[in-house]
């Protein structure tokens, strides 16, 4: 059955994610209010400014519905600001209203200011996902959040690390990246999210 993915469109690079999903033959809808959540099979939370998106989640009554959908197994992929909003713990910013769900600690902007933004070749090794390990994945890190190396809790699988810190993680139905796969033209990670986390999510345990 054809899947529809919601893309949180409060602020940030949501259009780029929709382009990637479109190129993979998946339909996507912009999510700006709770009504937009009806009928979606998964959600992407894009990069942008996490403080801005957080305020809008509260303002437009999306925070609680999203928490409950994700707790109940809705597949979600958060990149950069999206990762921050999915983190259970934040260094210095723990009062930022957010969705949570990933049992780990994230430090905002911890890779530095914009002049420290960078690209790096990432080696992603996921058992059974040979297409991802065939060649390096270009990680684009922009004022990126850092997943604290010793802050990864129970239930979180680290799928890729760079310079000793996790940069791609999964906990059940939740996938988080501190970089921006939507800016590279490399669709492998979105494809993997769709075929391994979204597909089968409705039918119980297959997502693991």
């Amino acid at each position: 059955m054809k899947k529809t993915i919601g893309v949180l469109a409060l602020q940030g690079a949501f259009a780029r994610h929709m382009k990637v999903l479109e190129s993979l033959g998946v339909s996507s809808v912009e999510v700006r209010e709770p009504d937009n959540l009806a009928g979606i099979d998964g959600l992407v939370i894009p990069g942008g400014e996490s403080t801005t998106i957080s305020k809008m989640l509260v303002r437009w009554n999306l925070l609680e519905p999203l928490k409950s959908l994700i707790e109940n197994g809705m597949p979600v992929f958060g990149t950069c600001a999206g990762l921050i909003l999915l983190a259970d713990h934040l260094v210095n910013w723990d009062n930022l209203p957010r969705i949570g769900g990933l049992n780990l600690t994230v430090a905002r902007n911890a890779y530095g200011r914009q002049i420290d933004s960078f690209e790096a070749a990432l080696e992603i090794n996921i058992p059974g996902a040979s297409v991802l390990s065939e060649s390096p994945f270009t990680g684009v890190f922009i004022r990126a959040p850092r997943i604290v190396a010793d802050g990864v809790g129970k239930g979180v699988e680290v799928l890729c690390s760079f310079e000793g810190c996790p940069v791609l993680v999964r906990q059940g139905n939740i996938l988080g990246a501190s970089f921006h796969p939507e800016l590279t033209g490399d669709n492998r990670l979105h494809e993997w999210f769709l075929s391994n986390i979204v597909t089968g999510a409705g039918s119980g345990k297959r997502a693991g």
């Binding site: 949501f14 809008m56 922009i142």
Partner: protein
Amino acid sequence: MSEHKTWSGRQSSTWRTKVGLAEMLKGGVIMDVVTSEQAKLAENAGASAVMALERVPADIRADGGVSRMSDPRMIKGIQEIVSIPVMAKCRIGHFMEARILEALGVDFIDESEVLTPADDQYHVDKNLFKVPFVCGCRNLGEALRRIGEGAAMIRTKGEAGTGDVVEAVRHMRTLMDEIRTLTLLPRDQLMTAARDMGAPYDLVEEVARIGRLPVPNFSAGGVATPADAALMMHLGAESVFVGSGIFKSGDPARRAKAIVEAVTHYDDPVKLAEISEDLGEPMVGINCDDLGEKERLAVRGW
């Protein structure tokens, strides 16, 4: 700009990381602030970035004189107090101001017509910098010249410090019309089009092919209300800069928040009505028709 390299470690300040930050600022509002307190207010209202400057454009107009890069101490104060990106302005062609701003670690430099130009012929060679630049334009030729020099974001100029949106609309309509026209031209007419608009051929060819600017396209200069912001988003802006419109209004905190909300819900008039309610006095403003040629900031840029 190269795609597939073999490298180890980090490749810093690539074209993709520069344009990437502009991508992250889409669907948001970048607010002019002159103090740390204003910067904090902007962040609390949901601004996706702040522009640190000494005087908002309305005051630059009122005060006259030469307008320059801000005091580094003031910029540092703002960098310390907010977590969102901090931008700052340098004068057109003033590459030393730009290098100072880069040394301060600002996240974006606006080579801006709002300040007094330092060079009446040449802009900064922005390709030489690690920090990304945004530049103003009134039309496609100007936009592509700036991108050719290395700008990673374009904003239409409007007429800063007026609170009158008419010039912002004119510039955005002109830009979008010229883009649409290019997409219809046969390939053998593109070189002449490039000559006529004074733009690099490769960028003209790219715009004709992709039907948009190769970098994000924001709007500036004259936005004073949530409806203004929504209007600019409909006309093609991907984000909105608001200068004097917030801190020259009666209730900056409410107005700032409302404009942020209006950019997200620009296509929802029912929500916009709710958002626009009871915001207090907007900035008084100046009708652009009453400005003399010498008072117009948008004509600065070559």
